[in-house]
Amino acid sequence: MGYVAIKGGGKAIAGAEKLLEFVRTRQGESAEPLDLETIENQLYFLHSRIISEGGLYHPKLASLAIKQSLGDTLEASFALRAYRSTKPRLVESPVTETSNMRVIRRISASFKDIPGGQMLGASTDYALRLMRTELLDESPEAFKAVAANWLDNNSHNEIPDTFPKVLDALREEGLLPPVDQAAAEKKPFDITREPLVFPVPRSAALSTMARSETGSILAIAYSNMRGYGDIHPTVAELRVGYLPVMLPHPITGEPIEVGEVLMTECEVVAMYEDEEEGGKPTFSLGYGACFGHNEVKAISMSVLDRALQSGMKNGPTNPSEDPEFVLLHIDGIDSMGFCTHYKMPHYVTFQSDMDRLRTTQDKHDDANQGAGNV
């Protein structure tokens, strides 16, 4: 890095930090500090986003990151991601079967009548985005009463814990390609331990997308949906729920449940492709999964997974099918870091630029001296 720091910058930095801390606490005379559980519960979707973009399932630290970053999503996931680098890798969990997910929402856009049934769960999909003025000054009593009423009127026992996967039904019918056992048994690419050197395997693409910034991945997936691509996805199943994480017992080696993670998973079915070996054509698939309740992200990811697979197979015909373009531009921490770096001093390089411009201007003047005086 050839950048020159400002001399005496230490004092300035300390001052800036103090001021930021004042900004965070300036409501202090009339308000309580945010507590972490409030963030996790009342800022549920923001919290989900940070867990997913930070790439670390730590609900409490994700809340802390949101609190200390004043709600800046990029800063918060940055803090979480940075914390992640301080932790050693102790064990790896075996591949997890998502059909065991304790589902809180699952829908299919392909079939009305899916095995197990549609389950809307908590969703804003059909909400009218009208300003809820009654929340302007919500009393703590009214706030508490809503949740209490809901719990009184709803029984949890009627809902099964888990549901069969829609894709399994399609696969049984031969509408989907069989599971690629060889690929399934391959050790997944670990993006936290290995750099992306292209071409990369699909598992590298999937894990990069799982940590990607929601807005970035949405933008590129949207370009594909709108016309710079031709995936035509149908959501076979979108599910949100708690997935048990298993680890081998340190002594017996038997897999035991060590906890669960909230996650969103999306499987899309797309138009069929040419089969090379004269096999029967089948629908193609796209997959997306990430920590937290992030539906837009999971859908975007599954669309891009399909686009990238097609780009890897036939060569990209648009940006969303180009693994380099997609995978190197969707990480929020990377892109935010590079973007904010433009605020750092560039005195030396700019000096050099000015030298070139002035010299060029002088030469231009010399060459045009006669003409300019007419």
Binding site: F111, K112, D113, P115, G116, G117, Q118, M119, L120, D125, Y126, A127, L128, R129, L130, M131, R132, T133, E134, P164, A169, E172, R226, G227, Y228, D230, M271, Y272, D274, P281, N318
Partner: protein
């Protein structure tokens, strides 16, 4: 799926009291009506308009909704369809929003009773009449988007009625798959010039656009376009002399036409259901109103008992 929670009872929904009839302001509605007139005057041409933000997601039918809200008046009877049904979540939600913001209008599930029909993905099985208008919700207005992502270039192609690349795409499909692979949104030429995207209706519904007695309006909210197929106008799906346009085939392996398990209908577009336990396939009319009408007609014939 239960829609009950989504009803008009909550305080959230009553917030509409402060909104204008039809949610949009009168100038916005007027602008949309002007664009509709232009669209009717130039069949199949995509008229750009300044699509407003609606209080639901882009892609949930905000284009169709804006057309409906700008056309509807207190004397009108509205039907809202999603995937053929009146009771699917999105249809329920749109209808409840329109009821909430247009006090005084009537709603119905019967095609014959409605004079304004907003629909997603289906044109009703029952033939529409001259006094009816159907508004279709459109995600992608431009049939050329599959071959040309740039709108600037597509506009020139439309102007020159240059659909060669679209025809090449169909031809390439035939070479590769021995079949044209476009299922829904089948490109259709209107009045011998503009090719439009008929919204994601199945091929089954495409012939219903030809010489339709009712006015067909198309609204794309996210893409900010309105277009129309006026009554008694030629609407021809793209095809080749030797590869004619075909609609969905509902015959079983033996070549026998499948029938609806509810009403027994053998000439409607069918939804496919799989029995979760037995894995067996069932078929049912996609147009739920049509299915109900046939059931009623049957029971009336059988015993003259009114089941309604």
């Amino acid at each position: 799926m239960s829609n009950q929670e989504n009803g008009s009872g909550s305080a959230f929904r009553e917030a509409s009291a402060d909104y204008n009839f039809g949610f949009l302001d009168e100038n916005a509605k007027k602008e949309i009506r002007r664009s509709i007139l232009k669209a009717i005057a130039i069949p199949g041409y995509q008229v750009p308009y300044s699509s407003r933000e609606m209080p639901m997601g882009r892609g949930f039918g905000t284009g169709g909704l804006q057309l409906t809200l700008s056309l509807i008046g207190k004397q009108d009877t509205l039907k809202v369809i999603d995937q053929g049904a009146d009771d699917s979540v999105n249809a329920v939600n749109l209808r409840s929003f329109i009821e909430m913001t247009c006090p005084g209008i009537d709603t119905t599930t019967r095609v014959s009773e409605a004079n304004l029909i907003q629909s997603r993905h289906r044109i009703p099985e029952q033939e529409l009449r001259e006094d009816q208008v159907i508004v279709l919700q459109v995600p992608y207005p431009d049939a050329l988007i599959v071959v040309e992502p740039s709108e600037d270039k597509r506009k020139i192609m439309h102007g020159e009625a240059d659909y060669s690349r679209l025809l090449v795409k169909l031809y390439e499909d035939i070479v590769k798959f021995d079949e044209i692979t476009i299922s829904h949104r089948y490109p259709t030429r209107i009045n011998s010039h503009y090719v439009l995207d008929p919204s994601p209706i199945p091929r089954w519904d495409v012939p219903k656009m030809n010489n339709s007695k009712a006015l067909l309006l198309f609204g794309a909210g996210r893409e900010k376009k309105i277009y129309a197929v006026p009554p008694y106008t030629l609407a021809e799906p793209l095809e080749f002399d030797d590869v004619p346009f075909r609609v969905e085939n509902f015959n079983d392996q033996t070549g026998k036409r499948r029938t609806c398990r509810c009403c027994g209908c053998d000439h409607s577009f069918l939804d496919e259901f799989a029995d979760a336990t037995t894995g067996e396939k069932h078929y049912q009319c996609s147009d739920s109103d049509y299915c109900d009408q046939q059931l009623e007609a049957q029971s009336a014939k059988l015993g003259g008992i009114n089941v309604a």
